[in-house]
Structures are given as C-alpha cells and as structure tokens.
C-alpha cells in the first residue's frame, strides 16, 4: 500500500488520468547526466554596464541542450549576479557544494540545480517549484536581496516556473496527495456576534482599549500612516473584524497580538510586560465565551485546517511574455512586489489605506493607490515598444457598479496623459491605449457594450490586449467581449509612449479618477495574448488553492478513505469549498460494497456553519462502477463558508446525515410563530373613492355617460391627479383640484343637456328648473332644490318622500347643504371656529347684480351649484 498518489485537478472539473510526475523527473535526470560529459571548458567573464546596472556576461561553454538554454535564460541569468547567489553558489565559492549558478559552466550549474542536497531535497524541484530547496531556503530568510524573504522565494519560484513552465496549456495542476495527520474535530470557542457581546468581557472592553491606546498610530484607517490590518480602527466593529485573525481564543498565548510583542514589535513599555497585558486582556475576552462542543449525535469526519491541507500550487499560467507580475502574496506591509523575475522589479508603494486580501490580493479603498516608480515603470515602455504589442491581465473585484471613469490600472502622468489604462465606468470596462491613432489621453478608447454589462461586482479575469494587427481587444473571464475596436487602433504604433510615466493601481498617479475594489493579481505581457493563452490563465484561477482530505476511515472502518474538497481563501470573509469527492489513498482501491453518502455539511470550529451548506442534499452512493482512481465526485457544486477565526485558526470538519452505516437523522426545528405587535391607534373608518370610482359616481349622479367626449377628455387629463388609493390620510389638495375640474366638466355637460329640453321633460336631471329665467329671479328656495335635490338623491340617497330613510349618520344633512349653497343669510362654517363666516354660493355669485342679470349667469350659477355638490365629500367619501 502506498499513501501517495498524484491526482489531476483541472479547472474544467474534468477528471483526467493520473500523472506520475516522478517518471518525468527521473527521465530528465538521466538525459542530462549523459549529456554533461560533452561539456566544454570555462571561458572568461566580462562586465557590461546597462542603465547603470552592472551585468555579468556569460562566456563559458554553451548550453548543450535547449533545456539548459531555458535554464540559463530564466534561472541562471537571474540568480548568478554577485548580489544574489553568484558570489557563493559557484565553483570556488563559499557554497560551491551547491553550485547551481556556477559562473564557469552553465551546464554544470544545471546539473547541480536539478540534483539533491544531503537531505535528499531537490535544489530545484521542477515538478513542484515551490518545493525546491532553493525556494524554501530563501523563504527561511537565507540571504534575500529585498526586505521580504517571502518575496525572494516567490521570485525564485517564478524563475523556475519560467524555466520549466513552457506553454503547455493542456496540463492540469498536479497535486500530490498524502495522508494527513488524523485529528478529531475539537471543541472550540468562537467569536461572538458583535464587539459588544459578553460585557464586561466583550472585545470592546478587553482587547480593544489596548489596541486603540497603543496601535492606532499605524493600525487605524484614519491614521496619518495607515498600516493594514486596521484592528485599532476608531470604528470598533471594523476593528473587531480585523482583530479576529490575530486572536487565538482557544490558546490565547498563541495569539498574533502576543507573538508580535514578543518579537519586539512596537512595544509601548517593555515588551514582556506589554505582552502580559495583552495576554490578560485576551484571556479575559476569551474567558467570557462559552465553549462550543461537538454535538455527539453528529456523524463527523476528522478535522482539517488550512495549515494541514495540501497546497494545490503550481500550474501552468502562460507567462512567456510576462514582464511584470503582482500576486500580492505578501499579506502585510505597505508594498506589493513585482515577482515576475524580469528586472527591474516594479514594486508598488501603497498610498492611503490599501488593505491586504487574505488568499492573495489588495483591497483598494477610494482615495488609495499602489504605485511604482517612474524608473522601474520604464521597463514597460522599453519592453512593450520593442514588440509594439502588449496585454494587461488582472483578476479584479470592483467594489460596485456605480463608479465612473475610475482607473483600475494606469500607466500615465495623470488623467490627460497616459500610455494605457484599464478603467471602470458603471458596468463597463474601458481600455485606453495611446497609439499613433489616439491623442495623448489615449482617446478614443475602447469601452465594453452597455447592454452586455460585462463588468460585475464579483471576481473577474480581465485581459486587455493590443497589437498593431488586431488593435485593442477586451476579454472578460476568458471570453472576448466582441466589442469592436472603433478607435482605428489597427496598425497603430506605440512609438509615442512616454517612458517617464508611472504605473499605478487604483487611480491616476495624481490620485484622480479613484477606483474602489480588490485586485487579486495583475500582470503585464509584452505580447497580445491569444485566446488560448487567456483561457489557460483564466482557467487556472487566482489565489492559493488547497486540497483537504477529511478522513472518514473511522466511520466507514475502511482505512485511508477520505472525502476530499478543493478549498481556497475566497476573499477576506469566506472560504470556497468545491466539488467533494470520495477517495481512497490505497492503490487499486475499489469499494467492496456500496457506501451511501447523504447530507454533507461543513463544520467550522466545533459546529456546522449556519449558511452555505450546499452539499446538504447530497444523496448518492459510492460504488465500484462510478469510483475511479481519482475518486468519485459526490457533488459538482461549490460553496462559500464564512471565515470565523481566520485562516490560521479555523478548523473544519464534515458531518453526514448518512455515511455508510452511520446515520444522523436530522429533524428540522419547527418555526417560531412571531408574536404580533399590539394594536396601534384605530385605523380610519372611512376612505376616499379612487379615480375611476369618482368618475363613475359623477357620471351616475349627472346622467352623463363616462364616454361623453368632453368629460372623457377631462377625465383622461386629470385621471392620474385623482386619488389612486383609498387611504384618507393620503388625500391632498391637488386631488381636490382634479375632483373640481371633473365635477365642472360633468355639470357643464349636464346643464347644457338640460337647458335644451322642456322643463318637464322626463330626461331632465334638474326637472322643472327654468334656465330661461335670469340670475336675479332664477334662484328661490324651490328652484335651488331643483338643482340640489336630484344630485343628493343620487349621491346620498336623499329621500324627500320618506325622510326617515335618509342616512343621517353617514351622509350630510341636506338642509345644511342647501344653506351652504343658497341661503341668503351669512353662514357659519364651524360652531367652534371664529372668523369663519361666509356667504352662500348663490349670494356670492349674484353680487354682480344687476349688471349680470342674464340667463348666462343663471347657467353659470346652476353649474356652480351642481359642481359644488358633485365635487364634494358626497362623491369623495366612502
């Protein structure tokens, strides 16, 4: 039995055969050993001066194979200078036992590089460059030439990748699976919901005061020199989130806050005492948090953490033409390193609150930027003008889709002078490329189509390419956006590029056109990437990926069986768990009997995650037919699970509703019926009629059909100014104005219709009223009733024959109405109010007598009486 296998995990989620990388490794070693016997003797070295940099020119034996040529170009040339490895790791040097950059003979250097040290470790592991001793040794702090050992390690790794990577787009990532140490999921303390929870042992009252008192000069977003993470932010909630990953609730002494003080990091009195104070505070905070215990009813796997997971690093990004690369792996500090290995390195200095993204990346808040020097940025102009082609490649997460003219990436001198920019405007990406066909601002530019909404506020792979043949193109998530290059860039030349501009992320160099979002990776190539190359890089994804092997051997009583998941740090707040598969590390394993698997859930720190349990309905059977040497996929889906303590502390495990013979019947809790609130103040018992009801009521009262052209026209005009809802509190004066207009229209039609009929015509509305009388004599009490009463009969069911039938509790008193409209005496609007006396409508409208003693005035008064009745609460209220 072996406990190692090699399994392909490719981005297409297609299963592929196993690759025994060791085979390739051995065969290459044999080949090279045989050829080395043909090597030539040493030659002398010369020194050239290039841009003020001394560079050694190799004049020893020529590389005997193309493999050695690649080795020399991508690895030896980069590391052989005296300020790197050349002073020691060469023939006659202090470390001549490991002369992997032998200055005398590149073929010997190659042989040394692919050999092992006395611990059996490969100096250069071409199947897993990160595992190379030359990388791990530097990562341990051995003679790094920049401030960060991790950066040097990354750079050397990139040299090896450049050397052995090639352009094979068909190869997947090769993962070596090895059995993890079996650990039971442990009981755990988990962070409370808020910074204020568990008073007086809350974060706010324990750890936070120390942080704000002693760390806020740097670790606050409002500091003059802000240093991420902002665990001393003035906003306690933000500080709490940032501090979680620095606190170990289960073993407080292991907290990062303690270890940094022990490492003498900016203590405020003496470090030992300060560390004790911090420990006391963390212990108090942790002591207030109850232990989360594993539910004994759960069927669980063994536990895993990111530190015990298997790195799924490596892969085959297309990088042959890459001249600058920022992977943002450092995770701390105020500088992002160019790890392309192409000199000079364009390291980016942060300005403003640039935060680090867990799992690689930077978070650029509006107003911050990351900028290279003009000197190092010159690399882009120099190398891109050579080819007259280039590509900008980035993994981008726009913070929103509302920002406009915001620079994600720019190589410029400000908003009016640039070489290129990648920009966001709402849902669009914009590619500005200065060429012989544009102005100095790189206008006209190429913008993605509005309707396509190519830009989304989620992780996207964006590539912008330029070549004189194809012009400008934009690719999003591996797909050409089909946005035609309208700016005549075809056949354009980059000759006019200014080599004194600076490369910047997140804004223009002067801070204008600020962009907000996250960048997980940025690369510049001095060639227009092809569709295949873009697809290759897109499918590889971004960020560190892991494989977790959750042992289920104990539950199944089948040794070396696991449920394997691909895991990555999805962003600062979550992990991605993808595609669970059942797998055994035993050679030739095949399930002897069917293994039912149902209801997989992901546990974090002693409990199942509350949300994101996408595998909760898995219901399948592992069986000999479906099982392959790569395992059997249990679900093709993936999910995000919330980060809790941080990637260094979160412990994961799986639970199952059914796993083989083990079951945990899950019973859904009955929902809690919400308790209704107490009754508010009583609602209004009445309401207003709505637009069409008002119209129909007026039609009913006047006998004028709603289809009458005049009233229909008025109604159409005022329809949307009439009440649309019954709520009486929503009734406005504008509604009343529309009601008045409509009432006037109906009454105008009604009077016009009546006046041409005989006074006793049965079709008359105002039966008996004499329209031929002039205003001075037309309105006595009886004739007024001839106008008012027909309307009241329709509107308020006035029963003049049997007054007992009148609706006096809910309808207006007809006598009051008549008085308001026609009484000769002064009227009182309200008994309570003072100064509210008024004259009736008829009195008011006959004040013009005798000058207006005409039949026309009679009609006007009749219409007014009608409209005042019709346009009143009689119609409006229900």
């Amino acid at each position: 039995m072996t406990q190692e296998q090699h399994v392909i995990l490719d981005a297409h989620r297609h299963s592929k055969p196993l690759i025994q990388t060791l085979t390739r490794l051995i065969s290459l070693s044999v080949l090279v050993s045989g050829l080395l016997a043909c090597g030539n003797s040493a030659e002398v070295e010369t020194i050239l001066v290039n841009d003020g940099q001394e560079q050694e020119i190799y004049s020893g034996p020529t590389p005997i194979t193309s493999e050695v040529e690649d080795f020399k170009a991508e690895f030896w040339d980069q590391l052989s200078p005296q300020d790197r490895c050349g002073s020691c790791h060469t023939n006659g040097g202090n470390a001549s036992d490991f002369a992997f950059v032998d200055l005398d003979n590149v073929n010997t250097a190659f042989s040394e590089a692919i050999s092992t040290n006395n611990q059996g470790q490969l100096i250069v592991d071409r199947s897993d460059p990160a595992n190379s001793r030359v990388v791990t040794r530097v990562a341990e702090g051995h003679n790094c030439w920049v401030d960060s050992a991790a950066v040097c390690a990354t750079i050397i790794e990139s040299y090896i990748n450049n050397w052995v990577g090639g352009t094979d787009s068909s190869s997947g990532r090769t993962i070596e699976l090895s059995a993890p140490v079996l650990v039971d999921p442990g009981d755990s303390r988990n962070f409370p919901e808020t910074a204020q929870a568990n008073d007086p042992n809350s974060f706010e009252l324990t750890v936070y005061p120390l942080l704000t008192a002693h760390c806020a000069d740097c670790h606050s977003d409002t500091s003059a020199t802000p240093q991420s993470p902002f665990f001393a932010s003035a906003d306690v909630d933000s500080a709490f989130e940032a501090a979680k990953s620095k606190i170990d609730l289960d073993t407080p002494v292991n907290s990062r806050f303690i270890s940094r003080l022990v490492e003498l990091h900016n203590c405020w009195t003496d470090c030992s005492s300060d560390a004790d104070d911090m420990l006391t505070a963390i212990e108090q905070f942790a002591g207030g948090i109850a232990l989360t215990e594993i539910d004994p009813a759960l069927v669980t796997s063994k536990a895993m953490t990111l530190s015990t997971a298997i790195l799924a690093s490596g892969g085959s990004r297309y990088e042959d033409d890459q001249i600058a690369l920022w992977e943002f792996k450092t995770g701390a500090g105020s500088m992002a390193f160019d790890t392309s290995g192409v000199e000079p390195a364009m390291d980016l200095d942060f300005t403003g609150p640039v935060d680090w993204v867990l799992g690689y990346g930077i978070d650029i808040a509006e107003g911050s930027k990351a900028q290279a020097s003009t000197t190092s940025s010159k690399k882009l102009a120099d190398m891109i003008r050579l080819t007259n082609s280039y590509s900008i490649e980035a993994w981008v997460i726009p913070a929103n889709v509302t920002q406009e003219n915001a620079r994600i990436i720019s190589y410029s001198a400000g908003d009016t002078a640039r070489n290129f920019s990648m920009s966001q405007t709402l849902y669009n990406y914009e590619f500005m490329n200065r060429s012989s066909n544009t102005d100095a601002e790189a206008r006209p530019s190429l913008m993605t189509n509005d309707d396509d909404e190519d830009l989304q506020a989620s992780l996207q792979h964006v590539v912008m390419t330029f070549s004189p043949v194809a012009g400008q193109k934009i690719y999003v998530n591996g797909v050409y956006t089909d946005d035609a290059d309208m700016n005549n860039a075809v056949n354009g030349s980059l000759f006019d590029w200014n080599e004194n501009y600076a490369f910047v992320l997140g804004s223009e160099v002067d801070g204008s056109n600020a962009w907000s979002g996250k960048l997980r990776m940025v690369a510049i190539h001095n060639a227009a990437l092809t569709q295949d190359q873009i697809t290759q890089n897109y499918e590889l994804g971004v960020g560190q990926k892991y494989v977790m092997l959750f042992s289920v051997a104990e539950q199944l009583t089948i040794s070396d069986t696991y449920v394997m998941l691909e895991v990555e740090q999805f962003d600062n707040t979550a992990y991605l768990f993808n595609q669970p598969r059942f797998i055994s590390l035993q050679d030739g394993y095949s399930p002897a009997a069917d293994i039912p698997v149902e209801g997989i859930r992901i546990g974090v720190n002693g409990r199942e995650a509350d949300s994101g349990q996408v595998f909760g309905h898995v219901n399948t059977t592992v069986n000999a037919t479906d099982y392959t040497p790569d395992g059997q996929i249990l679900s093709t889906l993936g999910t995000v699970i919330a980060l809790e303590k941080g990637p260094e502390a979160d412990e994961f495990f799986l639970t199952f509703e059914r796993l083989g013979g083990q079951t945990n019947v899950r019973v859904e809790a009955e929902p809690i019926i919400p308790v209704p609130a107490a009754d508010p103040e009583a609602a209004s018992d009445i309401g207003v009629k709505t637009f069409e009801e008002i119209n129909a009521t007026m039609s009913l009262a006047t006998n004028i059909p709603v289809t009458n052209s005049a009233v229909s026209s008025t109604y159409t005009t005022y329809q949307q100014q009439l009440p649309a809802i019954e709520n009486i509190s929503a009734f406005l004066s504008s509604h009343q104005m529309a009601v008045a207009q409509l009432a006037m229209s109906y009454c105008n039609e009604a009077v016009n219709a009546d006046k041409v009929l005989a006074s006793n015509d049965p079709d008359r509305l105002f039966a008996g009223f004499n329209f031929n009388a002039t205003a001075g004599s037309a309105f006595d009490n009886a004739s007024q009733n001839q106008i008012i009463e027909p309307l009241l009969e329709k509107l308020s069911n006035l029963d003049t024959v049997t007054p007992a039938n009148n609706l006096s509790n809910t309808q207006p008193d007809d006598a009051t109405i008549k008085a308001a409209l026609g009484d000769a005496n002064t009227q009182d609007l309200d008994d309570v109010l003072t100064g509210d006396a008024y004259e009736s409508l008829v009195t008011t409208m006959t004040q013009c007598l005798p000058g207006c003693d005409t039949t026309n005035r009679t009609e006007e008064i009749a219409k007014a009486m009608c409209a005042a009745t019709l346009g009143s609460a009689l119609t409006l209220i229900q």
């Binding site: 989620s458 979550a574 996408v614 859904e668 308020s796 006096s808």
Partner: protein, 415 residues
C-alpha cells in the same frame, strides 16, 4: 368624530379651492340630523359603496336593507356585486397593480386583469389564477382581435365603456382556454403567470426571477425580504449570483442566499419562458432552457446550472413553513422524504403556490384592504376575521365573491 374632523378639513380645502375655481363648496356630513335611517340602511349603503365605488339607487338600497334586517348581510353584498361597477371598476383596479413592476393602478385593461375579473365573476376556483388553462377575452364589435403581440384587444374593449364593454357581462367577457387563445400547450399554461401582460412585466429581460417575486408579492402577499432564510441548502442558487459581491462574501452568506436558496429553487419552473422584446410576445421553448437562465455564469462557476424546468420548494421547512404549504396530493407536485416539494414547469409551481394557506390568506387580505380600507395585519380583531374568512375561503371552493361578501359584512358597521 374622525369623519367629522375630516369633513372639516375638506371644508377648508374647499374654501381654498373656492378662491381659485368657481366657488366650489364642499358639503359637510353628519352635522345635523332630521330623520335617522335604520342602522341596516346605513350598513347597506356602506357595503354598496365599498364593493362598487358607487352610491346605490334607493331601490337597491331598500332591497339590501331588507336582506340585512333578515340577517342576510352576505346576500345584500352579493346584491351589490350585481352592479357592473364591481367588475368594471372595483375588480379591474383591484387587479391592475399586480400586472406591472411599478404596481401602478393606472394600467390599461389587459389579459391578466380580464382573467382575474372573469374568474371572480364566474365563481371559478380562484386557485386557477396561478395554474389554470384559462383566459378571458372580449367579444364586442369593433375591437381588435386578441393578439400575442400587443394589448390592443383589451385596450379597445376598455374604451368601449361600461355598457358596450361591460366586463360583468359573460357574453362580452368570455372564458376561454389559453391553448385556444395564445397557443400555449395545456401543460405550459399557468393562469395569469402565462398571460401576455405578466410576461411583458416579469419575463422581460432579467432572469425570470421577477415572475417569482411578483407572484409572491401579489398572490402570497409577501416580498422576498421577510422570507429570508440563510439556513436553507443553497444547491439551486444559480451561477449568476455573485458569492462575493464587491469582494465581501458576508453579503452573500448572510443576506443574498436567504432569498436565493428558496427562490432559485422555485424559479427554475420558468426556465422555458421568455418575453421577446422584438415580437412583444411570450415565448415558450419546451426542452430548451432560455439563455437568460445561464447568463453571467462566471460570477460563480461552481453554482447551479439550469438544465430543465424543474423546481423544488425548500421553504417547506424552516421559518417559511409558516406559509403553510399544502400536504394534500396535488397534480404535478411531489413531496420527498425531507418534506420538500418539487415538480416541473410553471403550472405545477402554480399549484404549489396556490394551495398554500398564504395564498388563501393573501386573497382575503387584499379583499379586506379593498372593502375595509385598511391593512388587517395591524389589528388583532382584523387578523382573527382574516383567519376565519381564509378558512372559509379555502373550504368553500376558493370563491372570491363570497370573500368580498363576508368582508363587507365584517366592515359594515360605521364607527
């Protein structure tokens, strides 16, 4: 007193208006009494007002009063509902806001509204509104024929007015099957969800989730927000939903997924529908998932890929169990061992939704608002009335006219 206060306000308004427009005077109510009518007559007047929006004739009022005196209040309400205005005005404007995203009542008559009116008028089981092969069309001279490509037929019917275009007349507004009118196969019909008006409003552009959301809002009386349940298994959440909006997964984990876990499971039923902006018609593509269900796949490529029109209701468990889904055998709906229901297509989803108690309660609540003029959720007595009428509605063949009648009875007393 409240009504008197309001009348006084109206008076002040009228005085203001008088100075501007032809001396209009608003009349006060309840300021005096010459002859008191019977309580039953006042109740009859209110019932008629609320159901039809119009005052009754004295003869109708007499009849209604008589019925109420004989303890047949619902009979009086049914008499009021014989007034065509109940259909031409009340029901038309009752249904109009359901047919557009803006929820505007100022909407021309369309096939959605006409179908709701017809179902109520003809005492059809109201659940058909979400799954029936049913549609109502006009039969009047001089109007355009029904078309899948425009709404002319209904707009012209409305313009005829309440006489020639009387929707209460079953010879003018006729019941038909959608199959014979718009050509959808029977198994693709789902009541109002497959009308042209609904398609234009909710299948247009987007991802068809709008149809689900607005069906919930209009027929289960809840938007998605109150239904958020992040504990549901999100295995049907599609690829287009970003799991890290703006780079912050917490937004998805603690918010977005609360709706999408349930919604995306059920909205899969619409996978074969879309509204064609060019032809302005509803399109049904059996067996072919429309492109809108597969857009923005790279937002989260590990998400669910729609392959058919299957749907699953995860909200039968968790807090949304309170919607009280039916456990009766239902055509096209299966219930699994976990208690989740599932099916294929909009029709069976309509069955699932329409048989929930939330659907029945929603119809009662909407009618309550129309008749009693306030939201019943705020008052214990109103909630109890809605409970009782909902039970009656669901046991009474889902007859909406009876709901209006019972509510007219409940709200008949002037305070």
């Amino acid at each position: 007193m409240q009504s008197i206060r309001f009348m006084r306000q109206l008076i002040r308004l009228s005085l203001l208006a008088r100075s501007f427009c032809l001396s209009l005077v608003i009349i006060t109510a309840g300021t005096g009494s010459i002859n008191a009518g019977t309580v039953e007559r006042e109740q009859a007047r209110r019932i008629h007002d609320r159901l039809t929006g119009l005052p009754p004739s004295n003869s109708v009022l007499d009849s209604m009063e008589t019925l109420i005196i004989s303890n047949n209040v619902e009979g009086a309400a049914h008499l009021a509902m014989e007034n065509p205005a109940f259909y031409n005005i009340t029901l038309k404007n009752y249904a109009a806001p359901w047919t557009n995203e803006e929820q505007s009542v100022f909407t021309p008559l369309n096939d959605y509204i006409a179908t709701v009116i017809g179902i109520i008028r003809d005492d059809v089981d109201f659940r058909e509104v979400l799954h029936g092969n049913i549609i109502y069309t006009g039969n009047a001279s001089g109007i355009a024929a029904f078309s899948n490509n425009n709404n002319d037929h209904y707009e012209q019917l409305e313009l005829l007015g309440p006489v020639l275009g009387d929707l209460s007349d079953n010879t003018i507004l006729e019941r038909k099957t959608q199959t014979e009118v718009n050509g959808l196969p029977d198994n693709a019909t789902a009541g109002i969800m497959t009308t042209r008006a609904a398609a234009k409003a909710f299948f247009k552009d987007g991802t068809n989730r709008a149809m689900f959301r607005f069906t919930l809002m209009n027929h289960l009386c809840t938007d998605l927000e109150p239904l958020k349940d992040v504990s549901r298994v999100p295995d049907r959440v599609r690829q287009d939903v970003s799991r890290s909006p703006g780079g912050d997964s917490r937004i998805y984990i603690f918010s977005c997924v609360g709706c999408h876990a349930g919604m995306d499971g059920m909205a899969g039923a619409y996978a074969y529908y879309q509204y064609n902006n060019d032809t302005e018609a509803l399109e049904y593509t059996p067996g072919l998932v429309t492109a809108k269900h597969l857009i923005n796949a790279n937002n989260f490529k590990h998400g669910y890929v729609t392959t058919d029109d299957s749907w699953v209701n995860y909200w039968r468990n968790g807090q949304n169990k309170l919607l009280n889904w039916s456990n009766q055998a239902m055509t096209g709906v299966q219930i699994d061992s976990r208690g989740h229901s599932s099916g294929s297509g909009a029709k069976s989803l309509g069955v699932e939704l329409a048989n929930s108690e939330a659907f029945g309660r929603c119809q009662v609540k909407k009618a309550f608002q129309a008749v009693c003029l306030h939201d019943p959720d705020n008052y214990a007595a109103d909630r109890l009335a809605v409970d009782n009428i909902t039970t009656s509605f669901m046991n009474d063949g889902y007859n909406m006219k009876n709901v209006f009648a019972k509510l007219a009875d409940y709200c008949k007393e002037p305070q």
